[in-house]
């Protein structure tokens, strides 16, 4: 969720007309030196069964070289479970998971990118920090989306990016470069099938950064939804790098 928040929730004003420039600008505007929030996650499966989780998220560093810790606070079964992520600009991130009950951290192996992230409707790919240049963009036009005028941009992953999607459609608000919606289409035989939709809402300006406070992922294949709310969101607060190490992960329970 860290990268998601980091990558997609922020926007900065710009006047670029080129599709790639629009996406780049959207990313630039979301940039901050550090971030902290308390998140609530609800997974609503096809049978309308709801499960809820809460966590605290802290990130230090800007896109590409950030370090983040995500620590679950509820429910009781998962309380204390923590994730440590070290993002690298040039290679896949390193991730560790701390499970207090066995007092062990485990390194999370490089995933199959389609794997769902711990029972949510996000896949690991959805959460990656994307380099703008790993896809090519095409401006399809302008569209009114939920009352706001948006650019509609098609993003096609490069062949070497090994994506689960054949293409994604992005809706970016023209006035403030905030991403409002992402639609992912399947690869291979599902090429024209919409498999996942992410919507961003409750957009507020926090510490001069336009931020979506709520996002909803809809897995159309499984008809399952995940709703995530960000509370007590703060940018650019002073965080110690020592908190983003394996030792810190073990220490804090």
């Amino acid at each position: 969720m860290n990268r998601l928040a980091f990558t997609l929730l922020c926007a900065l004003p710009a006047l670029a007309q080129d599709a790639r420039q629009i996406v780049d600008e959207a990313q630039k505007r979301s940039r901050a030196g550090s971030q902290r929030y308390e998140g609530t996650l609800e997974v609503i499966d096809a049978r309308r069964k709801v499960s809820t989780k809460r966590w605290v998220y802290e990130r230090l560093g800007a896109a590409g070289e950030s370090k983040a810790v995500l620590r679950f606070t509820a429910p009781a079964e998962v309380k204390g479970v923590a994730l440590l992520i070290h993002n690298h600009p040039d290679r896949a991130s390193d991730q560790w998971m701390w499970t207090p009950a066995v007092a062990r951290e485990r390194r999370i192996a490089l995933q199959d990118r389609r794997t769902r992230f711990f029972g949510t409707d996000f896949t690991f790919e959805d959460l990656e920090e994307r380099d703008v240049d790993r896809a090519s963009y095409k401006l399809l036009g302008e569209e009114n989306h939920l009352g706001a005028l948006c650019w509609k941009i098609q993003s096609t992953p490069r062949v070497d990016a090994r994506s689960q999607y054949s293409r994604t459609l992005l809706w970016i608000r023209k006035d403030n470069y905030v991403l409002l919606q992402v639609e992912g289409y399947g690869a291979g035989k599902n090429e024209d099938k919409l498999i996942r939709r992410i919507r961003y809402s409750d957009i507020e300006k926090i510490q001069n950064i336009w931020t979506a406070r709520m996002l909803e992922v809809h897995d159309l294949e499984r008809d399952s939804r995940t709703v995530m709310k960000l509370e007590k969101l703060q940018y650019n607060l002073p965080l110690s790098p020592e908190n983003f190490t394996l030792q810190a992960l073990r220490r804090e329970r």
């Binding site: 204390g80 499970t99 009950a101 029972g119």
Partner: protein, 850 residues
């Protein structure tokens, strides 16, 4: 074919019982062959299937035998450029404690990455899903079970299951149910998934994995990655496709298939004699028929083919019946072998399906057919040589020429001489087995002469017991050496087989008991598993000093045993404080000097190996073993060879410090505990259980319990041997019944004459009984002698090509003594039917019978 229907069928119909008895040897021979191999294959198949089902998409596995390896290896493997996904695995079979469920195979995996390798079939629908992957990881009591297991035990989602762990009894929660297809059906569905780190705690494995399963990057060659990874990790770790585990397992099963082969070959041999016997007599009886056929223009070739065809069909039918019987008995055998392998080697598998390999069935069929054709060849040739003129003359009989007897005796003598020569040059395998075969053939060829000689020797005694009947019986046997010798040979073979099997069982029992007395002398054995051969659960080595601190305990020796792969076969590595072990245990030294070998091993200069290891791997004192360890290949000098029956595949004893250094494994399988003199055994045991029993899996076996267990295991090991003995005795009895039935019907006229000239019913009866008993005595005498030879060879085979165990020659007198009444009783009982039919039949018909 026309001939067959017109000539053979009426005869067969008339002698239906005899025909059935004739095939008995073939039936049983083929059945044992098929049963044994099918059972072995099924067990192997079940093992392989479980391996493959659990392997999922795994293309390569990294292992260090059974020893496991430190966690860091995982990062090395993951970092290898050819590797796509690499995940750690811990695999252990545990007793469920649920009645009728037996073992549960628990797979410890890391769910964060594992699902890209294995399809847990969890997410698709409804209730059969894992509730929450995060909860599964966060809670170490999480368990995913198969739908089958869930249904059988009523353990549904969120239900609790208590298992004894190395941290004491622990409750586990079912957090997911796998659909019963694919992986979940592995190990007969008795499969559970657990977090790999939770499994480390539950099984006391420290920071180690048993295995790493991996897939290679798209486009990379599996073999290329295997070689690259092997180079990167060093030879101490094995990088192999999942299928190679089956090959190691196969080595463990090999002993059983070998012993099954010996029994099958004997049974077929016996079948050969039974068929030969029956056909020889049939040819005599049908002499006039053959004469008529010849007179009507049948060529010699046609007659020969007719009889060959008959024996072929007999063999075919017998083999088919044997195949059916074999498949039936295979099921029971498979369950037995499976259980045994589980107990002896601690290897888990479940043979649920027993499927016979068509190739195996075909070769068994061929074997049975070939045997009967060989058996029918001589009688067929004799039939072809029947002189039509003489055959049609009544009252004339063709007698076997003396020349044939002489030739046979000469051949036997030459074979015997060669066999003796082979014993002296027996270090070469081919020569050895040739000698084995020659010596048995020689005895068989000498059977007629031996039988005649023995009967003549017995005649006075028989005559003294029953002047009329005794003499008549002896004469009847002497008159028809061919008829008698067939039966005697078959019986002798069966008895030799029993003596061989019984002898090896007895020798093993005695050797193992003697060894157990010296090697297993601690007062207590403390293990984490229910039995000493199971190694799923390990102790931490810090427990040793704690046990030593218990009042009454004098010394504690920590032992770590692991199976590793040495030159492709699994062997047992035993790591302990060698110096202290040597002070307590004095095993028989085969090579080297006791003081030096143990002192050297204690200093870590080398290892002490068991004699069966030395024999199987052909190594001797001073040789250097290349032993794989997670840290790399070790070169260890053999400092001594001792007699040790700990493991059928051989053991390597090394000092624990050496093991710790190279395996970085500080876990313990068992503690050998010696008490202070005068300590109250029961009180100390209770004290130990009170102190530790609640905290972990903690089993205290007394010396006696362990020895009983070893004895039970040995008995179980020889359980199928006893089945084989039973088969052999059965064949022996069938052989006697066959011989007598054939003999009586052959002699109907003769017995009729006897009655016509004044023989009373009882006289006839007693004659036949005595005859049967004499056949029994002959068979027993020759069989006991042949058994002595056979036992020598079978012990050699065991030493050379099976387990490598040096067993002392112990003639099984007890079994021989048991056989005496059994065989004689069986002979007497089987004589009753023929005797009654001989005295009850119409005299007039008997006299006219030809």
């Amino acid at each position: 074919m026309m001939l067959l229907r017109l000539i053979t069928w009426p005869y067969v119909r008339k002698h239906l019982l005899r025909t059935l008895l004739t095939t008995a040897g073939i039936v049983l021979g083929v059945a044992v062959f098929v049963g044994m191999h099918t059972a072995n294959q099924s067990v192997l198949h079940a093992f392989n299937r479980t391996v493959y089902q659990i392997a999922g998409a795994t293309q390569l596995q990294v292992t260090a035998g059974e020893a496991g390896f430190p966690e860091e290896i995982l990062e090395k493997v993951q970092a290898h450029p050819g590797v796509a996904v690499a995940v750690p695995v811990i695999e252990a079979a545990v007793q469920t404690g649920i009645e009728g469920q037996g073992n549960l195979l628990i797979l410890g995996v890391d769910m964060t990455g594992d699902r890209s390798l294995r399809d847990y079939d969890l997410e698709n629908a409804g209730d059969t899903i894992i509730e929450d992957p995060l909860v599964f990881l966060a809670q170490p009591d999480s368990l995913i079970v198969s739908e089958q297991f869930s249904r059988r035990t009523g353990l549904a989602l969120n239900r609790k299951l208590t298992m004894r762990t190395m941290q004491g009894p622990r409750q586990f929660t079912i957090r997911g149910v796998m659909k019963s297809a694919g992986m979940a059906s592995a190990f007969g569905g008795n499969l559970a998934i657990m977090d790999v780190y939770a499994a480390q705690l539950v099984f006391g494995r420290g920071r180690k994995f048993d295995r790493i399963d991996l897939t290679v990057r798209a486009g990379a060659s599996v073999d290329g990655v295997r070689r690259g990874l092997q180079r990167a990790l060093g030879e101490g770790l094995q990088v192999d496709p999942p299928g190679s585990r089956g090959k190691q397992f196969e080595a463990m099963l090999q002993i059983y298939s070998m012993s099954g082969n010996v029994t099958s070959i004997f049974a077929l041999f016996i079948g050969l004699f039974l068929i030969y016997n029956t056909f020889s007599i049939a040819v005599t009886q049908r002499r006039s028929e053959i004469g008529i056929l010849r007179a009507l223009g049948a060529t010699r070739g046609q007659i020969k083919r007719l009889f060959l065809l008959e024996s072929g069909i007999t063999g075919l039918l017998g083999s088919l019946a044997g195949l059916a019987l074999g498949v039936i008995i295979a099921r029971g055998m498979a369950a037995y072998i499976g259980g045994l392998i589980g107990n002896v080697y601690g290897v888990a598998q479940r043979a649920e399906e027993v499927a016979a390999d068509p190739r195996l069935l075909a070769s068994a069929l061929g074997l049975g057919l070939l045997t009967s054709l060989i058996a029918g060849w001589l009688p067929a040739r004799n039939a072809a040589q029947v002189d039509p003129v003489r055959a049609l003359q009544k009252g004339r009989v063709q007698v076997i020429s003396a020349g044939e007897n002489r030739a046979r005796r000469l051949t036997a003598a030459v074979m015997l001489a060669l066999a003796v020569v082979c014993v002296f040059y027996g270090h070469q395998q081919a020569v050895f087995y040739t000698g084995y075969l020659l010596s048995i053939l020689a005895v068989l060829l000498m059977t007629p002469a031996l039988g005649n000689w023995l009967t003549q020797a017995l005649r006075p005694a028989l005559k003294r017991i029953r002047p009329v009947e005794g003499a008549l019986a002896a004469d009847s046997l002497l008159q028809a050496p061919r008829r008698t010798s067939g039966a005697v040979a078959a019986l002798a073979l069966s008895i030799a087989l029993v003596i061989g099997l019984g002898g090896i069982a007895r020798s093993s029992f005695e050797s193992i008991t003697t060894w157990a007395e010296t090697a297993l002398n601690p007062d207590f054995f403390i293990t984490g598993s229910e039995s000493i051969t199971q190694r799923s659960f390990c102790f931490s080595d810090t427990l040793g000093p704690e046990i030593a601190a218990v009042p009454g305990v004098e010394e504690v020796q920590a032992v770590r045993t692991v199976r590793i792969i040495h030159q492709g076969t699994p062997v047992m590595l035993v790591a302990t404080d060698v110096e202290r072990l040597a002070r307590r245990v004095r095993l028989k030294v085969i090579e080297g000097r006791r003081q030096e070998m143990y002192a050297g091993a204690a200093r870590g200069e080398g290892v002490v190996i068991s004699d069966n290891f030395a024999l199987i791997h052909r190594v001797h004192l001073g040789d250097v073993l290349r032993v794989p360890s997670p840290g790399g290949m070790l070169s260890l000098r053999v400092l001594g060879v001792v007699q040790d029956y700990s493991d059928t595949q051989g053991t390597i004893l090394l000092d624990r410090r050496l093991f710790l250094r190279h395996w970085r494994d500080d876990t313990i399988n068992a503690f050998r505990v010696y008490l202070r003199p005068g300590a109250a055994r029961d009180a100390v045991r209770q004290d130990l259980l009170n102190r530790f029993g609640g905290q972990m899996r903690f089993y205290v076996l007394t010396n006696q319990e362990l020895k009983d267990y070893i004895r039970k295991l040995t008995e179980q090991w020889f359980g199928l041997t006893y089945v084989q003995i039973a088969v052999a005795v059965l064949v022996a009895i069938l052989g006697i019944v066959n011989a007598l039935t054939v003999s009586i019907s052959d002699r109907r006229r003769e017995l009729g004459v006897l009655r016509a000239v004044g023989g009373l019913r009882n006289q006839i009866r007693h004659t036949i009984w005595i005859e049967a008993l004499t056949i029994g005595v002959l068979g027993l005498t020759i069989g006991f002698a042949l058994g002595a030879v056979h036992l020598y060879y079978i012990l050699e085979v065991a030493k050379r090509d099976l387990s490598g165990t040096r067993l002392d020659y112990r003639y099984p007198f007890q079994i021989a003594a048991t056989l005496l009444p059994v065989v004689l009783g069986a002979a007497l009982i089987s004589a009753i039917g023929p005797a009654e039919s001989a005295v009850r039949g119409s005299l007039v018909e008997a006299l006219e019978y030809e």
